[in-house]
């Protein structure tokens, strides 16, 4: 179960945010979407999560067209947005129950899932704490736990490590990789931080709304005769990260 994007373009008025994007994510893998700020990553995420309507091209998620079968698509998809979408004044449990209800899960159905996901992220003790009392790393974990409540097959994370300290960033990254391995979850992790990418990760480099390269990090380095992905990224985009 994966994401297939064909001939996708999107513009804000006269500004082209995405141009002719073609991409197929590798199933059960940690797929990295690498691009500097303004590359079009968030626009792509907004299209994948149906926040924006398609202008041209098509997206198929887990075998369903996003334009024609949105409900089936959204059931298979978990999304973590770049900016926090938790309600700070509500408790962790209240936030999670709200999400579960939006997916048609009753409290009785949701409770075992909430318990399981919070335990995975070592947050069981914080169930009834207000989100406002959680630090940035814990809030991110709650958001990921929330995105996994309805047991999606694909998880989208838009710059999930922004604003976190390096240690928390690394542990979050490892957690998600563990999820990929344990649950065969397909992950799309957008970032502008190259250190979050490993050599065997499928990587897509997005720059000014276009895909410049897409393959595993190792393969890309070989193809472009680059020492590492960081050097390759700089030479392709003319930017540093």
């Amino acid at each position: 179960m994966s994401i297939i994007i064909r001939n996708l373009s999107f513009s804000y008025g006269s500004l082209n945010a995405l141009q002719d994007i073609n991409l197929a994510l590798q199933e059960g893998c940690f797929n990295a979407l690498l691009g500097p700020n303004g590359a079009g990553k968030s626009t792509l995420f907004a299209l994948l999560s149906r926040l924006y309507a398609l202008q041209s091209g098509e997206i198929t998620i887990a075998g369903h067209s996003i334009a024609h079968h949105p409900a089936q698509v959204m059931r298979k998809l978990g999304v973590v947005f770049q900016q926090s979408t938790l309600d700070l004044d509500l408790s962790v449990a209240q936030n999670l129950y709200y999400h579960a209800a939006l997916h048609g899960m009753s409290k009785r159905q949701a409770l075992p899932r909430i318990t399981e996901e919070l335990a995975r992220f070592d947050l069981s003790q914080r169930l009834h704490d207000k989100v406002r009392t959680l630090n940035g790393g814990h809030r991110r974990r709650v958001e990921i736990a929330r995105a996994l409540l309805h047991q999606p097959e694909i998880l989208l994370l838009d710059e999930p490590s922004v604003g976190l300290d390096p240690a928390t960033r690394e542990s979050l990254n490892l957690h998600i990789r563990q999820l990929c391995r344990q649950q065969q979850l397909t992950v799309l992790w957008a970032t502008h931080l190259i250190e979050e990418v490993q050599n065997d990760d499928p990587v897509t480099i997005l720059f000014k709304g276009r895909i410049l390269a897409s393959d595993t990090a190792d393969q890309l380095c070989q193809q472009h005769q680059s020492a590492d992905i960081s050097t390759l990224f700089r030479s392709l985009t003319g930017t540093s990260t």
Binding site: Y12, A46, S49, R50, L51, Y52, A53, P70, A71, Q72, V73, M74, R75, L77, V79, F81, Q83, S84, T85, L86, D87, L88, D89, L90, Q94, Y97, Y98, H99, A100, A101, L102, H103, G104, M105, S106
Partner: protein, 263 residues
């Protein structure tokens, strides 16, 4: 979407609105200050200046305070409806709309459920106001408080749907101040909330016609009659039609990227 899914989803939305309402108790009290100022200060001063003839649904001469209460109930609903609709388009504080929109439930259902949930919450404020008005000596028949409930809800849905449509379509109204000046105040003052329309007709024929065409006037009259256990069928028909049309147009025109691209 099954009926069970829909009920769970609506219940979740309603519970969230209730929780937020409980969290923001201060907002509840401050929302009551506005209509109470109108009732206690404005109506007291205005009573001497305005004589109200016997008009339906009232069976006798009434004080100005009695006349103004249904309009003030509608005002509470108007402010709440506009505020919540505007926030559905523009307010991405904590991105709660994003969480809503990534639900697999049909988007029209989600939007209308949210409008209904916020409408139900604003009824708590209306009844809070009616309790204080009762202590202030403005009493409707006891059963009237119950018969007015569907009228409050219908008017709340109408105003929220109009609010959602306006917020989504008119880009210039990008904050609450804009909505207040160009939507809420004209809607409120050009209506039968503060003065009967015949009185307005004495002053100006064209102002009268604007008031008569204002859907808010019909909302106020629907509430006024319902509070006295009567049905104003003209007002009811107009409110139902406007609610349906505004809901359809608002839901069809709702484009989340419009609000997101702006800030």
């Amino acid at each position: 979407m099954t009926l069970r899914d829909a009920l769970i989803c609506f219940n979740g939305l309603l519970q969230r609105e209730l929780l937020r309402f409980v969290q923001q108790r201060s907002r509840f009290f401050s929302a009551l200050v506005r209509p109470l100022l109108w009732l206690v200060v404005f109506a007291s001063g205005f009573r001497a200046a305005l004589g109200i003839a016997i008009i339906a649904p009232y069976e006798t001469y009434i004080t100005y305070e009695v006349y103004i209460v249904p309009g003030l109930c509608a005002m509470i609903i108007l402010f709440n409806g506009m505020q919540s609709s505007l926030s559905m388009v523009y307010d991405r504080e904590m991105g709660s709309m994003r969480v809503l929109l990534v639900s697999p439930m049909p988007r029209p259902f989600l939007l209308l459920s949210k409008l209904m949930a916020t409408s139900l919450i604003s009824l708590l404020q209306v009844y809070g106001f009616l309790v204080i008005a009762w202590f202030w000596g403005v009493e409707a028949p006891l059963w009237g408080y119950l018969t007015a409930l569907p009228a409050f809800l219908l008017v709340a849905m109408m105003l929220s749907a109009i609010g959602l449509f306006i917020s989504a379509k008119i880009k210039q109204l990008e904050n609450f101040a804009g909505v207040m000046n160009f939507v809420i105040f004209p809607m409120f003052f050009l209506s039968s909330a503060l003065y009967p329309l015949w009185k307005m007709r004495e002053a100006s024929e064209w102002l009268y016609w604007i008031c008569a065409w204002n859907p808010f006037s019909h909302g106020v009259e629907l509430i006024r009659f319902a509070l006295y256990q009567q049905v104003n069928s003209t007002a009811l028909s107009i409110v139902i039609v406007v609610t349906l049309v505004a809901s359809i147009v608002a839901v069809r025109g709702f484009q989340p990227q419009q609000g997101m691209g702006k800030r």
